[in-house]
C-alpha cells in the first residue's frame, strides 16, 4: 500500500495527506529516483522497469484521469526540476525520454518514444510549455523555451523559443503569439 493509501486508512485529513505526499514524494513512484519536494497529487500510474529519475519539486496532478509513467526495461526517463504535469499526461519510454527543468504540461499530453511506426529518443529542453492534448512523437527534440500549442501533433523537431501548432505541427516564432495576451 502506498503512503497515501496508508494515510487514508488511518483517516488522516486530506490536506495533511496531500501535504505529506508532496513533502515525501517517494511512495507514489516505485522504482524511481525522486528528488526533494516531488510528488503526485492523489493518483498516478507508475510502471517502471527501467531507469526513471525525477528531479526536485516536480508535481503530477490527477483530475479526471491520473498521469501515467511507463518505462520499459533498459529504457530511461529523466525529468528535470520544477516541472508540472496536469492530469492525464502520459509519458512512455521504451528507449529514452528526457525532459529539462521548469517544463509545464497541460492535461492529456502524450509523449512516447515508440509508436509502432517510429522510434527514437524524445528530448525536451528547459522551460518548455506543452499545452492540453498535444502529442509529441518519437524522435522529436524540442528546444529551450518552446511552446507546443493545444492539440498539436509534433512530428519534427521544434527549435528553441518557437511555437508549434496544428496537426502535423507547424512552427512559428513566439512573436506570432506573445502580443495577443492570454493563451498563445
Amino acid at each position: 500500500m502506498t503512503l497515501l493509501g496508508r494515510l487514508r486508512a488511518l483517516r488522516v485529513p486530506r490536506k495533511v495527506r496531500h501535504a505529506l505526499v508532496r513533502l515525501t514524494g517517494f511512495t507514489a513512484f516505485p522504482n524511481c529516483t525522486v528528488g526533494r519536494g516531488s510528488g503526485a497529487w492523489t493518483r498516478i500510474v507508475v510502471d517502471v522497469k527501467g531507469r526513471a529519475t525525477i528531479g526536485d519539486r516536480v508535481l503530477f496532478l490527477s483530475g479526471v484521469a491520473p498521469c501515467e509513467l511507463e518505462v520499459a526495461e533498459g529504457a530511461e526517463l529523466v525529468i528535470g526540476d520544477d516541472c508540472y504535469f496536469n492530469y492525464g499526461t502520459s509519458l512512455t519510454a521504451h528507449h529514452a525520454v528526457r525532459i529539462g527543468n521548469r517544463c509545464m504540461f497541460g492535461s492529456f499530453v502524450c509523449i512516447a518514444d515508440e509508436d509502432g511506426e517510429r522510434q527514437g529518443p524524445v528530448v525536451l529542453g528547459n522551460d518548455v510549455w506543452v499545452a492540453h492534448g498535444a502529442v509529441i512523437s518519437p524522435g522529436v527534440t524540442i528546444g529551450d523555451g518552446a511552446v507546443v500549442s493545444a492539440g498539436a501533433v509534433v512530428t519534427a523537431d521544434v527549435p528553441a523559443r518557437t511555437m508549434a501548432l496544428g496537426n502535423p505541427a507547424r512552427v512559428m516564432p513566439l512573436s506570432m503569439a506573445s502580443e495577443s495576451g492570454g493563451a498563445p
Binding site: R170, M176, A177, E179, S180, A183
Partner: protein
C-alpha cells in the same frame, strides 16, 4: 471577381467576427487573431489562394495585417 484584399477581409470577418479594423492594423497587437487563428489564416491562404506557405514565412511581416497579407500574396504571384 473580388480582389485578394476583399477575400481576406471577408474571411477574417466571417471567421473571427471582427470587421472594424483598418487594412494596416496589426491582428496580433489589436487582438483580432491569436496564434491558433493564424494557423486558420494560413490554411485559408493555402486552400483558397493555392500558395504554399513555408514555416519560415510564418512571421508577422507576412501575416499580421491585411496590407502585409496582400503584399505577401503578391510576392507569391497572387494579384
Amino acid at each position: 471577381m473580388s480582389t485578394p484584399r476583399e477575400r481576406l477581409r471577408g474571411f477574417i470577418a466571417d471567421t473571427f467576427f471582427v470587421d472594424d479594423f483598418q487594412d494596416g492594423d496589426s491582428f496580433l497587437r489589436n487582438r483580432i487573431i491569436d496564434s491558433t487563428g493564424m494557423m486558420e489564416l494560413v490554411a485559408f491562404l493555402e486552400s483558397d489562394f493555392h500558395v504554399k506557405v513555408a514555416d519560415a514565412e510564418l512571421v508577422p511581416e507576412n501575416l499580421d495585417s491585411i496590407d502585409n497579407l496582400v503584399a505577401f500574396l503578391a510576392k507569391k504571384g497572387v494579384a
